[in-house]
């Protein structure tokens, strides 16, 4: 990646940072291979924040892990492609994947307490990233590499607004609050100056006030270090606050993708509509939740046709028979639903 393309931003012609197409993943459950992801597709341009939403179990984390080649041992990719800066990730050797993880793709996970190593100091866990990427160390100016890595680790803590980073760098994770721990993990992601940061429900495990702080940190980092972010969440509020575009997943497939404003204004897929209704809305001074009725089908026993049909208020005879194809409705909007076949339906 040259600096020219780095700067060319979200122009539609630029090579996307991430381009997933038709990604299918299978899981071995009870001795059988079960389809967990069904031809998932999504694209992220440089500097863009893509919200990936869907209920628990819809396949968001599996999608994220595939990008870094970190699928669990009982999972396998059954087809499709994942391109990072135009380069195919699937089929890379473990060594090549390690180089990619060390530099290009950084993950931040849900529960910082369990994702930080309890017996290593914060500094040790950040500084080890420089061992793999010595080119990230600034001109040492007489300092040893070790000390320079330590100094830059402190700077990274400062960047994620950790107070007193010189002290925190010596601390063990258990000595920090959950919010501070998550900032540490974010700092680890940022020191790599990665092409793509994947944030998988990074606020779910935190208190509400801390959630807000982390979200405003992300908003700030978008401006200051121009993050390219895959933001995974099941909270539409977070999507509204941070994302440029949004991909909605249900039961292993993408049901709708669109830019955020359009989706919030006019959701097309019945599942997107239902999901938006679960955003608490203020109604006569009361906060109202409207959860989607029913539950997502088990992977091992998916319904025929459209997987949403048992819960869909708009389902009709086609729905239980055929899988809906993906349809490009307007520019930049894709929906997979029989309602829109022929592109005939409008608001």
């Amino acid at each position: 990646m040259t600096s020219a393309t780095r700067r060319s931003g979200a122009a539609a012609t630029a090579v996307p940072v991430l381009e997933i197409s038709d990604l299918s993943v299978e899981l071995s459950i009870g001795g059988r291979w079960i389809q967990a992801l069904d031809r998932v597709g999504l694209t992220i341009q440089r500097g863009e924040v893509l919200g990936l939403v869907g209920e628990s179990g819809s396949g968001k984390s599996l999608t994220a892990l595939s990008i870094a080649g970190l699928l669990p041992g009982n999972a396998r990719v059954a087809g499709g492609s994942i391109r990072l800066n135009g380069e195919e990730v699937l089929g890379k050797s473990e060594q090549a994947l390690n180089r990619l993880r060390a530099r290009s793709v950084a993950l931040v996970f849900q529960n910082p307490t369990s994702y930080l190593n309890p017996v290593l100091t914060v500094g040790a866990q950040i500084a080890e990233i420089f061992e793999l990427n010595p080119e990230l160390l600034e001109a040492a100016g007489g300092r040893t590499r070790r000390r320079e890595a330590w100094r830059q680790s402190i700077e990274a803590l400062r960047l994620v607004r950790i107070p007193d980073p010189e002290r925190v760098v010596e601390r063990y994770p258990f000595e920090l609050s959950g919010g501070m721990q998550q900032r540490v993990v974010i700092a680890m992601a940022l020191v790599r100056q990665p092409d793509l940061v994947i944030a998988d429900e990074i606020t779910t495990a935190l208190d509400v006030t801390v959630q807000a702080q982390i979200l405003s940190l992300l908003a700030e980092l978008r401006r200051t270090v121009r993050l390219t972010l895959l933001l995974i969440t099941h909270d539409m509020g977070i999507v509204a606050q941070l994302a440029d575009r949004v991909v909605v997943m249900y039961s292993g497939s993408v049901v709708e993708s669109s830019d955020v404003r359009t989706l919030f204004k006019s959701p097309r897929h019945p599942y997107s509509k239902a999901l938006l209704e679960t955003v608490p809305t203020i109604d006569g001074g009361r906060t109202v939740f409207r959860p989607i009725r029913g539950a997502m089908p088990a992977l091992t026993d998916p319904p025929a046709g459209c997987r949403f049909h048992p819960r869909c208020p708009d389902a009709f005879d086609q729905c239980s028979r055929r899988k809906p194809e993906r349809l490009a409705l307007d520019p930049g909007r894709v929906v997979a639903c029989h309602l829109y076949e022929g592109g005939a339906v409008s608001e």
């Binding site: 390690n98 993880r101 060390a102 530099r103 996970f109 930080l116 190593n117 080890e128």
Partner: protein
Amino acid sequence: MGLLSYVARRLALLGLVLLGVSMVVFFVLRGMPGVDPLAAYIAPGLPMSADALASLRRQLHLDEPLPLQYVYYVANLLKGDWGYSRTAAQPVLDALLARLPATVELAVAAVLLSTALGIPAGIVAALRKDRAADVAVRVVSITGISFPVFWLGIILQLVFFYYMGQLGLPTLPSRGRIGDTIALIDPITPMTGLYLVDSLLTGKLAFFGSALRHLVLPSFALSLISLAAVVRIMRASMLEVLRQDYILLARSKGLPTRTIVMRHALRNAITPVLTTAGTTLGILLGGAVVVETVFSWPGMGNLAAQGILNNDSILVVGFTLFVATMMVVVNLVVDLLYAVVDPRVRY
């Protein structure tokens, strides 16, 4: 709570444990029907008058009720009077202390051997789970534990002393702690009683070499008792740790497997092995009775075995108490070691 008060509390607990052990051994011994405790104090075959017997019985408080006898017994223990061993022709405590260094040297060598072999084997087995290396490690360690130690000891003697000798190959000594000639012509001044340490301190390398060669077979035989346990626990604990979230985060940094195992997993996985090292020492000291007998090793276990054959109950009880004390002390040391390995542990 400070370290000192923790140690103080643990030492108080040690007192309680020993009280319990002494109670059990005392009542089992004295409560045995048809056995006159006086028999332990008189030389067989030496006729004594009824008067002399009666006065001896009074002197030893054997005519008092059992609970009171126990009080006398404990009071004597505390004074350092553990009774007189017919077998050693020495006071029990003196006899045990004189043979303690030999047993310590053997047991420590066995613990070192079983951890030095068991920890890497357990790690390899975990990393190669269900593959050839794992199966091989498990088969060997299970076979090791299924054979009685005396039998393994004899096999070792046959192979490394007898058969190798027959073939004119270099052999390993099969009995004793030191070569007879070396002990005669160039003896060491005992300081710690540990031959390896003393010979090094006094710079007697020939003595050191002979002591080391004598240690090989018995310590290996003894280590086999705990080797299987170390392998099994290390493997299970490593597998458990490798499933943890912080290992996934470490992998997502692009760290090579070696770094992940050595830096991120090992320190978390080693604690259960440390825990068992404490209990294992108890098993090893029990095993020392057998191994020391097979290899004519002049330690406490050897003496205790002779005591058993001699009906020298005072000695056997003393040995039991002594081993119990050692186990409690070792467990305390192990608990203190946790704090070194795991920063979360505070006392």
